[in-house]
Amino acid sequence: MSRIGIIANPASGKDIRRLVAHGSVFDNNEKVNIVKRMLSVFEEVGIKEVIFMPDYFQIGWRALKSLGKVNMEVGIIDMDVEFTQNDSTKAASILERCGVDCLITLGGDGTNRVVAKGLSPCSEVPLLPISTGTNNVFPYMVEGTVAALAAAAIAKGVVGKEEGCYRAKRVELLRGGDVVDIALVDLVALDCSFIGSKAIWHPEEIKEVFSTVAKPDSIGASSIAGYLIPTDELDDRGIYVKLGEAGKKLYAPLVPGVVKEVFVESFSEIPLDEKYKLSLSRGVIALDGEREIEFSEENWEVRVTRNGPLVIDIKKTLKLASERRFLRS
């Protein structure tokens, strides 16, 4: 039995970054098209069942309706829908309990963060995140057809999870010793007052960055350290950057099309699992590029761990699949 879960976020790709940066507008009909392409692939390669998260745009249902009859079981999770990001968290949890062989997400860093919140720490469900925007670090900017092939190769067992996946890191936000939230890419402490429109685009507000990766070829706050201590998904460390007016000036691509100057006071590698206190006493915490928590107390701690989801490495998986004569008659 090969079963694939799909969580397509209808709200991704619409936020203020379309205005303050040059973020692309990613409409939901295009998400339907991606799902259609994936369903066609799944049908062709013999996936038995696909399960969708319900959403207000009915992405899965529209894709299915457009394709007509498909030769596999297709279902939508029977769950209470809030039409908020909680739906993705809840759906991820249900799909994990259902024992899907692969979970595909359509969204950005934020979508994958809330999906990862729904999965148990170190979940064994292989995740294949597809980016539906221009401002993402965690998901792949990849054609749906190719992504579907990689997902199918894992779901059908052509490539084992241990061969084609890597265990992602995550930033954990702790209060009183308990994990209260997570980020898959970065946690940023901002000197501002409101969550407001959520995105981060004023570099002077950024005071601290804890990140799982720091890559010169990515975008957002985690890119600041990309030119200082390049760090990828497989490196067993996190990165800390402290910013302030007295720091050394460098430039970073904080949002699409906008390279801004930032002032770095200090930066360092941080060992996995080690806890650090936030130095700001009040402000806003952003998780994976979105302002999420307004805080005015000092007892917040942060650590980077290897407790993230199991992520499919598309290139590696398809290379192995090819060596094993996947798609050959």
């Binding site: 379309r18 939901n28 407001g196």
Partner: protein
């Protein structure tokens, strides 16, 4: 303006709209206000967030549900209430009523009884600013239903070609009169329509005054800098019917209650209290000030004369 003063002004303006509208609803039920009334209760964060990002010299165009926009742009409650009463001292000398209030001195180019009619007016105002190089921007309030009108598409097209300094602000309250959005269009985010005109399209939480303010502020900066128009969609909900007296058989009481829980004023008040920007004494002071303003507006309206019958054809231009 300091940030704290700005936040208190935002809070005060939202509360002023709420209290004015509550009084209007009451007076309408008593038969004191003729014609139609479309209450803005529940949507206050959109008008206030947007107008707080504008300069006094900037323009707005409004809708049939326009009281909130006018108050947020600085409209005088006395002249508004007098207009609602149909009195000679009203903004339109009592001949326009709730849906046609304008005050050019404040940049308010008019509420409008025709759905989608404000879009070309705002575009025209932006063209005027563009040609005169006076740095003014125009902001057009309209609703989800209006985005299906030809005026929406023509205005966005023209504004995008000429890079006019206009912000198209869609207050998506989910219903065009009684028609839910899903039955009127095949998309859920009206901001998606921006891509057809090559302009930015943004969705914001319309019940978060700061989120609206941030988005409009950025759009205004872009417009003033010659970057052209922006489409912003603020997701919100009206708490009352399309018009006063609407039985609302097209939605459930539970749905309305859910939106009441997301009250934009309460939400902002709680935040400002937590931050120490407001305290209970300050809230009482603001409430009392607004109560006096509303009371004075009603008194002014009730004591004002009606226009004379022979004035009926004056100020008529079409």
């Amino acid at each position: 303006m300091g940030e704290e003063k700005l936040w208190i002004n935002m809070y005060t303006s939202m509360l002023r709209i709420r209290r004015f509208e509550e009084k209007v609803v009451e007076l309408f039920a008593q038969g004191k206000i003729p014609g139609f009334v479309h209450s803005y209760i529940g949507e206050e964060a959109v008008a206030v967030g947007a107008c707080s990002a504008l300069e006094p010299t900037d323009y707005i165009t409004s809708t049939h549900r326009g009281h909130g926009h006018l108050i947020a742009k600085g409209g005088d409650l006395k002249y508004m209430m007098a207009e609602l009463y149909g009195k000679k001292t009203g903004y339109c000398k009592g001949k326009g009523g709730s849906m046609h209030i304008a005050d050019v001195d404040l940049g308010i180019l008019g509420a409008n009884g025709i759905v989608g009619a404000g879009l070309p007016i705002a575009t025209g105002a932006a063209l005027s600013s563009h040609l005169q190089k006076n740095g003014r921007v125009a902001l057009c309030f309209f609703s989800d239903g209006a985005s299906n009108r030809g005026t929406f598409h023509e205005s966005l097209n023209m504004a995008s070609i000429w890079k006019l300094p206009v912000i198209f602000l869609c207050e998506n309250n989910m219903y065009g009169i009684s028609m839910p959005q899903r039955k009127g269009m095949a998309i859920d985010d009206i901001a998606d329509r921006a891509s057809a005109y090559g302009i930015p399209g943004v969705v914001v939480d319309g019940n978060d005054v700061i989120a609206v303010y941030e988005a409009v502020k950025e759009a205004v900066s872009r417009a003033r800098a010659g970057g052209g128009p922006t489409l912003i969609e603020a997701k919100t909900a009206r708490w009352r019917g399309h018009f006063e007296g609407d039985p609302q058989i097209y939605r459930t009481q539970e749905e309305i209650e859910e939106w009441r829980k997301k009250c934009p004023i309460k939400r902002f008040e709680e935040k400002l209290l937590k931050m120490g920007v407001l305290d209970e004494a300050k809230i009482r002071e603001i409430e009392e000030m607004i109560a006096k303003e509303v009371e004075e507006a009603v008194r002014f309206a009730e004591e004002s004369p009606y226009p004379e019958p022979e004035e009926a054809l004056e100020d008529v231009y079409a």
